[in-house]
């Protein structure tokens, strides 16, 4: 598939994100680039290493003052822009779109909160980001897992941080999200909206990248034994929405999210009392209380597959249930297939 094309981005990632890691392991040198398992183009890897050497070697030679000055300058600028940001926030002079998406808050605050988790905790590796078009709408369809929807949030950071055209993912969330206080406020500000055909179509027509996890609660709340087995894809509504909006469907496979909370049981009665679709019981939760809610630090891989084009179909195709089922199955197969492939490549759950 597109593996060969993927490498440059991966190298980019691990160079910017894993700077410390490479510094720590400088003695061991080697390709600190975590993707050695994949057949990288030798030339590119050399170039990356050379760059790192130049950077590392250049530091002491250059005047320390210049470095210091630059750092001060950047700090000053950072403080100034931080204060300008604060000023805009406290005076209310910022824009939100009709879905309540607060781009500034998302970029500056919410992403910064999620990024350490993305880079350091789950060490997310992104492949095939170029499968998301640089302009125009696209529907990203991903598998859903992990008891808590952290995979959606990580997917959002992945698209935001690695896509060259600075695209923002707009996730479609379950209605439960919008019933809960605080959560609904943050979700709206982060650009999420209710998973319904109207909202999805509106966003896609505006040329946004929309993320959907059609498995819904069936996927996220499945027992640990069923990990990486895709559940039924809703009623395939996402396909007809993509068809109506004429945008490509980008299948996306997320590996690693299944193991963050291994759900070994489901307290159904308690869930019914609380009005939630499932109440997870993991080896640590609820036994250890809030400490048990800390996810396991698994290593994640997010792979975007080849986009499935939908613009070749006539208008009435969105009403054709047979075509819907076929396309849904095609997307599902592709995600499942990629999941298996990534699982085979994976060395361990945690590394």
């Amino acid at each position: 598939m597109a593996d060969a094309k993927v490498i440059p981005f991966d190298d980019d990632r691990s160079r910017s994100g894993g700077a410390q890691r490479s510094a720590r392991r400088r003695a061991a040198a080697g390709p600190a680039v975590g993707t050695a398992a994949l057949s990288a183009l030798p030339g590119q890897q050399d170039a990356v290493q050379a760059q790192e050497v130049v950077q590392g070697g250049g530091e002491p030679v250059e005047g320390a003052q210049a470095q210091e000055g630059a750092r001060r300058g950047s700090w000053d600028r950072r403080i100034a822009s931080g204060l300008a940001f604060l000023r805009r926030r406290v005076t209310g002079e910022y824009e939100v779109d009709e879905f309540g998406y607060d781009k500034e808050l998302t970029d500056q605050v919410l992403m910064s909160v999620l990024r350490p988790m993305y880079e350091k905790y789950f060490r997310v590796e992104v492949k095939g980001i170029e499968n998301i078009p640089s302009d125009g709408g696209a529907l990203i369809v991903a598998n859903h897992s992990g008891t808590l929807p952290l995979d959606g949030l990580m997917l959002q950071v992945a698209v935001h941080d690695t896509h060259p055209a600075d695209r923002h993912l707009r996730l479609l969330a379950a209605d439960l999200v919008f019933v809960m206080p605080v959560v609904n406020e943050l979700a709206r500000k982060a650009g999420h909206t209710l998973a319904c055909a109207e909202d999805a179509e509106r966003l896609l027509r505006q040329g946004e990248v929309v993320g959907v996890m059609p498995e819904g609660f069936k996927g996220i709340g499945k027992p640990f034994g069923d990990r990486y087995k895709l559940q039924r894809f809703g009623r395939g509504g996402f396909v007809s929405t993509a068809l109506r909006a004429g945008v490509p469907i980008v299948p996306c496979s997320i590996v690693g999210a299944e193991e963050i909370y291994p759900m070994i049981g489901n307290a159904k009665t308690l869930a019914r009392v609380l009005g939630i679709p499932y109440f997870p019981i993991t080896p640590t939760f609820p036994w250890l209380g809030p400490l048990g809610a800390v996810p396991l630090p698994t290593k994640w891989t997010i792979q975007f597959g080849e986009p499935i084009s939908t613009d070749g179909y006539p208008v009435e195709a969105a009403e054709d249930p047979m075509l819907m089922f076929n396309l849904t199955d095609q997307v599902r197969e592709q995600i499942q297939h990629t999941l298996y492939k990534l699982l085979v490549q994976r060395r361990s759950v945690f590394f």
Binding site: R87, G92, E93, D97, V179
Partner: protein, 346 residues
Amino acid sequence: MRRIQRDPDVDRVIAVDAVAPAHQLGDADFVRVDIRQPAIARVLAAHAVDTVVHLDVSGKALGAGGRTTVKETNVIGTMQLLGVCQKSPTVRRLVVKSSTSVYGSAPRDPAVFTETTPPKSLPSGGFAKDAVEVEGYVRGFARRRPDVAVCVLRFANILGPDADSPLADYLALPVLPTVFGYDPRLQFVHEDDVIDVLRIASYEPRRGTLNSGTFNIAGDGVLLLSQCARRLGRPTMPVLLPAVTWVGQALRTVGMTDFSPEQIRLLTHGRVVSTVQMRETLGFHPGFTTSETFAAFARSLGPGLLPPATVGRAVDRLAAMPFAGGTGEDPVITGAGDTQPTPGVR
């Protein structure tokens, strides 16, 4: 019934209200009739009225009568008026002022309502229910008199310097109680735009437009309640949702406010409507965006406890602190200059 009567391009404007107007109506004739009484029929017949603009669907408790009187005026008044219109052979056009509150607001609703979106949760009472019922009667009328052009205008929250609505009263509170954990999206429409769109709706349609049907009327853009509070300079006080409901109920029982449950729902979940139909079919382009409308309203209201300018200055003073050489002037410039989109700080 406010100011539409001022437009002079028509032969004759007849204003009808139950109370005498506070300001000059110019050339318009004023007839003091309560639309709940059949006397309205005589007005229509006597003047061979061809266009009826029904504005008396009000969200505000008028005087002592409270909710019951308002409901009576809204619903019975509309029924009466529609009954009269149905009998009147001269009526060609009917414009009804409604509200976007007919959509209700619930967490399970789509983010943006279009004219055809069915509401997930019908408003249980209060003004919104009146509006739903009024619209129902108007639809019935449109069915029985297909020769009459019927235009229903669903206005978002009307604000402006003279705004007089429950929401305006709410925003005028010194400290805004908000529902904890929710930040509703609100849309506003300016009073002047209301008059303009009523004029468009009550005349013959312009070329390429159609002014019968149902239209959402709202200014461009969306404001969050937290944004509104900050722009007004009013501190917010988050209250847990159950507490809000109880307190609202208690205050209503005592008769202090007319803060209906549907109002609380609006301030919990918010509501945004699509204005595509308004632009493309009705051909109306509002002169004020949501935030301009709000700015006009905020100006008329005067500064709150924490005016944005003061808060902004406080931030600037904070900015002045780390830089030793900063004169009084400097940080203001920094702050102002950086208001332009800064390159992402990552």
